[in-house]
Each structure stands twice: as structure tokens, then as C-alpha cells.
Symmetry: D2
Subunit: 149 residues, 4 copies
């Protein structure tokens, strides 16, 4: 996991800049924590704006941050002047997502020039104790950045 | 598709009541359109609060509404005093989600006393023309409603 | 569905030739039925060699044929001198797979120069009555054929 | 991972007996290696009967053994007189599956009285070197065993 080769020396700035443009992350109150080669984490404090009918985090709010975490984990390993697109993902919800905040971890499993495969998880933290509430398996596409990006 | 057997005569009220409690749907500006046995649709107008880095709808915002559409489609066929939980889903993003608004359609493929399987899609509408931008395959769980629900 | 554009005039021969090389299909007793632009079907008669512990078709044998059906459905729309690879798929098993034979249907949902998204299903046929037993959502990759293929 | 609670003291025999009834595993030449609480591995030597069009292992043959590995990993933790059913799975194929043999590892991520979530992987071994070629995320159902099982 630690042996990923970085081809974009400015990958941290590239990821930060792209993340800052995601209106949804801002709207959900999500912030990026850690950016490392092949790994990104995103935190999202609890709010009633993020819930399903039982006041737990909605599957959609959890999926939003773990998708971004996986996508940006993939982007850390992509060449300069490329961008990342989510082709597809699958998420299992393994525990009710109850907590003061949740943290999404995205990790590259297999990088590639076209396709990068990632795994992610969302951990709910309540009173200091952690519980995995969702796990993701995702497929990301690398493509050349367009002129106006 | 039209031959589903409804066991909760108040399924429309049950679905509406549950949907109204989903803070995330309100926060994303999503509203429920149609509730029929085995089918639900949800609309979400475009906003900068829903976007990824290229100003398209974020995969997470699309997933949020099609998850709710599939979950409530499943709930229309469940007995009274039960509730629906998303066990897992998989989503493919097949076109950039650009539009004035998007509509998520959730449909039951196979109902069951414990497990209900659904398929969903999100259609982006721009200037009256429609384009499918995401397709979902989801597994929903039916369980007895808890006292305080 | 009928409006797919074919870019390989010999797509039927291309698909037949590739299918004939799949040792697994032969070993499972699977044969290709229909090859149309964006659609392929594969039939597999019942045998004890295909079963799980209750003498139904094993999830793996069903997945094998619907993966091939989706992959070759994608290949019908790809240019000459390219090949198809399965990037990933997801399958829901919605009914016990009991029958004299099963038929897998693979259909292109969204073709593309790099990525093609497909949906598939497996239908079990017993005494003339049909039942859907599995549904698939799959992502296929198109790449240039190598010299020795 | 090591802290799973076993409720069936005969889980090894239960798993072995069920596996021995899977005609497909026999037909593919697959054998069970390790059975531990929450973990099962299955080996499958290379054969032309298992291949796709480039003589690699077919996605279907890989999926077959990792599905069985995940299902039986789940069964190790289930109570006596129950059985396991695959509700659904998703598999990413991350490298060409070339090797003398492949080993599928199935692990329980989250056990439950009704639903058990597993992750699996298939490793290809060639001349002693290992390479992950597929990763699975799967949802298993526990249900009471029927009289004649």
C-alpha cells in the first residue's frame, strides 16, 4: 500500500483544488483530512441535514463522502493534467451510522493508466468509539483534463 | 410490474411520512413525485450545492435520491408496521449528469418478505430532453418497525 | 435498444470466434444462441456439474454465462481489432435457479469507446415456464487487440 | 477478525459437508483448503476448462470459487441447522488471472443473524509469486435449514 508511485509531484494541491470545487462536499459539511499517495480521508460532522428517517446518517450522505475519498485517493496517483471520474461503485451498509461524526477512508487497491480500483469505508465515531458503518468497492477512470478545468 | 400485491392499504401515507423525515432529502431539495405499488420517483432541481468539481451533479447526490426512490419503492409493498433498510447498492454512472433537474426512478424487481431487490435510474432533464445518467441495482431489507418510529 | 451503431461489419464472426475459445463455456455446456447489435444470449442445460449444495444452479455457473453474454453484447458494438474485458460486475440472485435449462441475456445499456455498461439477466426455464433468477449490472472495457489474439 | 463468536461447534463438518455437495466445485477442480471462524479458502488448479478467450481464468470461474469461499466463511459463524444463500455480490477484476493455480479467500466483515457481509479476493500464483486478480464484496443470507437438506 505504501509503495505507490506518484507521477504528479503536485498531487496534494491537485486534490485540494478539485475538492474545493465540489459544491456537494461543502453543502454536506465535509472536509478533507489526509491526502497521501493512494489514500484520502474525509470527515463529516453529524447534522440533521444528513439523515434518513431514523435520524441516522442517510446512505446517500455516507456514499457521497466515501465516493469522494476513493476518487481523490485515485487522483493522487494519476499524472498531471488528468482528472478522475467515478465509473461505478458498490456500497454495503453494515451498521447503523450513528455518531458525532463520520470519517470516510478511500484507498487505491489497484492503480492503472486508465482504470483505478479502490476500496473505501466509512467509520462512525461516537464518544470516541469507532464503528465501521459502510464499505465500498469502486472503479475510477482517468482521463485527460479538458482545457477549461 | 403492475401485478404487485399491496399488503399495506396505507402505503402512500407510510411512504410520505417516512420520506418527510429524511433530513438529507430536504437538504438536497429533493421532492417525491409519484408513489405507486413497487414504484417511486423523486425530483431534484439543479443547484451548486449538489455538484462535483465540474459543476455536474455529484455521484453522491444522484445516489442519494435513487437510493431513496428504490427504498420507498420497496416499502410500498411491505406490510404495515415494517420499515425498509438499504443493505447495499451498486451504481453505474453512464453519462455526465447535466440538467435543469434530475429525476430518480426506483422500481421493485423482486419483492420478498425479508429481501426486496430493486432497480433504479436517474434521468437528467435539460431543455426538455432526457438522458439516463445513472443506473442502480439495490438490495433492501424489511424489518419490524421499532416502538418509537 | 435497436438504434445501436455497429462499427465492425463482421461482429457476428468476431463474437463467435472469441466465444469458441472460452474453455469455461464449453466445460459448462453453454452455447451461444443469439447475436445482435448490443445483445447476446447464451443457453446452459441443467447438469449436476453446475450445482450448489441444494442441486440448484450455483451462483458461479449463472454468473459465468451472464458475464459472457454481457461481454459479447458489448463486443458486438466495438470496432474491428479490439477486444472486450470485464472490469467488474454485480449480480443479485432473486430466485432459486431451478430448471431444465437457463438462458442468460446480455444487453448494452451504454456503449462507449472505452467503457461499455451492460445489464444482464438469467432466466430459468422449467416445463416451459420462465423465471428470472439473477440480474447483473456490468462494466466492460474495450482495448486494442494484441498481435497474437 | 479473530474475535468472531462461533455458535455451531460442528461448523467445520457443516461446511465440509455442504461444500462436498457443490457439483460445480468438483467440476471446476476446486478444493477447500482452510476453514476457520469467519474465513475459508479454496484452491483451483489451472485447466483449459476454466478459461476465457485468451487462456486466462474466466471471470466466471474465479467468481465461482470466491463466492463459495465467502459463503462458507459466513456459514462458519451461523447457528446449527441453518444454511447460507448468496443474495448478491460484486467483483472487480484487477489483473489478468494467469497462474498455475488460484486461491480464493473469503472473509466475514460483518456477521449477523440474518445478513452477513463478506469480502473476498482471488490470488493467482505462478512460479511461486502471488498476484491479486479479483476482489469481491458479497451479501449472504442465513435461513433455517429445510427438512431434506
Amino acid at each position: 500500500m505504501n509503495e505507490f508511485r506518484v507521477s504528479n509531484p503536485d498531487f496534494i494541491q491537485t486534490v485540494k483544488k478539485s475538492f474545493s470545487k465540489q459544491g456537494l462536499m461543502r453543502h454536506l459539511g465535509a472536509t478533507m483530512d489526509v491526502i497521501e499517495p493512494g489514500y484520502v480521508s474525509i470527515t463529516m460532522p453529524y447534522s440533521e441535514d444528513l439523515t434518513q428517517q431514523h435520524d441516522y446518517y442517510h446512505a446517500g450522505s455516507l456514499t457521497s463522502i466515501v465516493d469522494s475519498a476513493c476518487g481523490y485517493a485515485a487522483l493522487t496517483l494519476m499524472p498531471p493534467n488528468t482528472e478522475v471520474l467515478t465509473l461505478e461503485f458498490k456500497v454495503n451498509f453494515v451498521s447503523p451510522a450513528i455518531g458525532d461524526h463520520v470519517v470516510a477512508h478511500g484507498r487505491v487497491v489497484k492503480p492503472g493508466s486508465i482504470i483505478t480500483v479502490c476500496q473505501g469505508e466509512v467509520v462512525a465515531i461516537q464518544d470516541g468509539s469507532e464503528k465501521v458503518c459502510a464499505i465500498m468497492q469502486a472503479t475510477m477512470l482517468c482521463r485527460p483534463m479538458k482545457e477549461n478545468d
